[in-house]
Symmetry: C2
Subunit: 329 residues, 2 copies
C-alpha cells in the first residue's frame, strides 16, 4: 500500500519536495495546501509541472483538503518558528495525520518554547500523530551526523562541527538571505532583530547536548558578516568590495570541561566547501564530507526519506534521535 | 535506576568492554560468565583489575549467574558465528534478558541463517528480550555510517566503502589474525577454509542492501594477502619481504545498475589509514574519517553505548537500522 502524502506550502522548497516525492514508487501524492490565492484551486500539475497530478488540487487549508482526501502524512515546508508552525500543524495533528516539516525550530522544539512543545507533544500523542522537524541543516550535517559519530566513542570531551557553504552555487533567495551586498552595520542590525543568520543553529547544538546528556548553560551565539575582499559577481547579483558576501554564524556551549562548537560559514565564492565533525575523545574522530552536502537538494531528500521512518515511530513530537538512522527511501 | 549488566566472555575484548562499562555511572556491573575453569568462581576484580567488583563473581553459565543476580542486559563477546552464538544466548533470552553482542554474524543474522534467525527472533519476542549484534566493523564504519549518509540523498546509484587499518598499531592477536608472516598460498588456503579474512564483511553489505531495499544477487567476496614489500618489524613480530603482512578483503554486490562495494585493507605499516564512504548519487557524498576509527577501542564503545538504546527498543532480534542513531552513553 502506498503512503498518501500531501504537501503543505508550495514555495520553491515545497515544489522541490513534491517533485522528489513524485519519483518515489511508495508515495501517492494526494493534494496540496497553500495560502496563495493564485495557487488555490489549481491542480498540482499546473503549479509544479509534475505530470499525473492533474486531478490533485491545491486547497486553502488542511481541513479543506481533508474533505476530499485524507493523507497519511503531510510534508510541511512553510515556516521556521515554533509559534507559527504549531497553529498550522494543529488541525493536521487533530486529524491523526503525521507531519515531516522543514521548520527549523521543530528540530528541538523544547529549546525556545518548552511549554508549547510539551502541550503540542501531548496533542500528538492524544491523536496518534507523529511530528518531526528535519532537513540537512538543521537536521543532519551539524547535529545528527555528529551525534552518530560519537556512537563509537568511549568518551567525548569536545565536538567541533564546521560547515562551509559556497553560496555562489546556490539559488538566488539564499544568496540574498545571507546578506549579500549589505553594509556590515546593516547586517549586524538585522541579526539583532532576528532577520539575519541561520535559523536552527542553536537548536542543533541543544539537540546534541540533550542526547549526550550534557547539562549546558547558555548558548553563546554570534553572527558576523563575511566581507567581500574584492568585487564578487554571481549568476544573480554583484557585491562590491567591502560589503557583505555572507554569514559566519557560530554557536558555543559547554558542560564544565565538555565543549560543543558549531561554526557555519555561508558566503559567496567560499573556498573548500565542506562539512566537518571533529571529536576530541577516545577514540578521536576527524570526519570531513569533502565538498559538503548541497543544502537545497539534500533538505528535500531528508524530508522525503523521513516519511516511512516517521510513520513507524510511536506517536508524539519526535526528535531525529528518537527514530532509526536516516536512509535513502 | 542503574542498568544491571553482566559480561559474557572474559577474553581481552570482554575485559575491555567491562572496563569501559565500569566508567559509566548509569551501569551497575553484577557479574560475569566464562567457560575458562581458571576464571570461574573468581571475582571480576581479580580477573579484570576493576576496583569495586570484589563481590561480583564469574560463573560457569548464565543460569548459574541468574541464581544469584538477574541482569537487565548481557554484554556478549565470545563468538563470531550464528550457529555458536544462538545456543549461548538462548538461556539469556528465555530469562527475558536482553543482549548486546560483538558476534559478527548477528549484525545481519538472516543472511547465512535465515531459518535460525527467524526462530530466534520469535523466541526474543516471546520472552520480551532484545538482541543486537554491533561493533565498529561490522556495526558502524562499513554499514551503519554509510546508510546514515544516504539519508540526505535524493537517489543513490553506487556506494563505495573503504576501510584502511594500520595493523602495526593494533594488538598482537590482530597482527597474527591477518596472516602476518604466512606464505601467500597458505593464506589463500586458510581463506577458503573460512579461517582467514574479516568475519562480518558480507553481513555489512547485506545490511546496507536490505535497508535500502536493493535486491542484490550473490555477494562476490575476495580476500587476497597484502605482501610485505620489505622486512616489517612491529612490537610483536617480524615479517620477511615477500610474505603476508595483512588482508585485502572485498565484497561487491549489485541490483541491476546499483552497485555496492566494501573494501577492507588491514595490514602492517598501512599508509593513510581511513574510513571512507563515497556515494554516487544526488547529491554525491565524499566522506572520509581521516586516520580511521580505532577498531579495538571503538568496538567496545559501540557495545556499551548501545545498551540504553537497545533496552528502549521493542523486543526481538534487532538490526542497527531498527534502533535510533548511535550516540555516546
Amino acid at each position: 500500500m502506498k503512503i498518501k502524502v500531501a504537501q503543505f506550502g508550495l514555495g520553491p522548497i515545497g515544489i522541490e519536495t513534491l517533485k522528489l516525492a513524485a519519483t518515489k514508487p511508495w508515495i501517492e501524492i494526494v493534494g496540496g495546501v497553500d495560502i496563495d490565492p493564485a495557487k488555490i484551486g489549481k491542480s498540482l500539475t499546473e503549479v509544479t509541472g509534475i505530470k499525473g497530478l492533474e486531478k490533485r488540487k491545491i486547497y486553502s487549508s488542511f481541513d479543506a483538503l481533508c474533505k476530499n482526501v485524507k493523507p497519511h502524512l503531510v510534508l510541511h515546508t512553510a515556516v521556521s518558528r515554533m509559534k507559527t508552525v504549531v497553529p498550522q500543524l494543529e488541525p493536521i495533528v487533530k486529524a491523526g495525520v503525521s507531519v515531516v516539516s522543514s521548520c527549523e525550530e521543530l528540530l528541538f522544539p523544547q529549546l525556545k518554547n518548552p511549554a508549547l512543545a510539551k502541550k503540542f507533544d501531548a496533542l500528538c500523542r492524544k491523536h496518534g500523530a507523529r511530528v518531526l522537524g528535519t532537513g540537512v541543516n538543521p537536521g543532519f550535517v551539524m547535529d545528527t551526523l555528529a551525534i552518530c559519530l560519537t556512537g563509537v566513542c568511549r568518551s567525548v570531551e569536545k565536538i567541533e562541527v564546521e560547515r562551509v557553504v559556497n553560496a555562489s552555487l546556490r539559488r538566488e533567495p539564499l544568496q540574498r538571505k545571507i546578506g549579500s551586498g549589505l553594509p556590515p552595520d546593516e547586517f549586524r542590525k538585522l541579526f539583532k532583530e532576528e532577520k539575519m543568520g541561520h535559523v536552527g543553529l542553536v537548536e542543533s547544538i541543544a539537540l546534541i547536548a540533550h542526547v549526550l546528556g550534557w547539562k549546558i548553560g547558555a548558548i553563546n551565539e554570534t553572527c558576523e558578516p563575511m566581507i567581500a575582499p574584492k568585487k564578487i559577481k554571481t549568476a544573480f547579483l554583484e557585491v562590491p568590495k567591502g560589503l557583505c558576501c555572507g554569514i559566519h554564524h557560530r554557536a558555543e556551549a559547554s558542560d564544565s570541561q565538555k565543549i560543543l562548537t558549531l561554526d557555519l560559514k555561508m558566503y559567496l565564492d567560499a573556498k573548500d566547501p565542506r562539512d566537518a565533525v571533529k571529536i576530541t575523545g577516545d577514540p578521536a574522530i576527524n570526519a570531513i564530507l569533502h565538498g559538503g552536502v548541497h543544502g537545497d537538494r539534500a533538505t528535500v531528500a531528508a524530508l522525503v526519506n523521513a516519511v516511512p521512518v516517521v510513520l513507524k515511530a510511536p506517536a508524539g513530537l519526535l526528535l531525529m534521535t528518537d527514530i532509526p538512522v536516516p536512509r535513502v527511501g
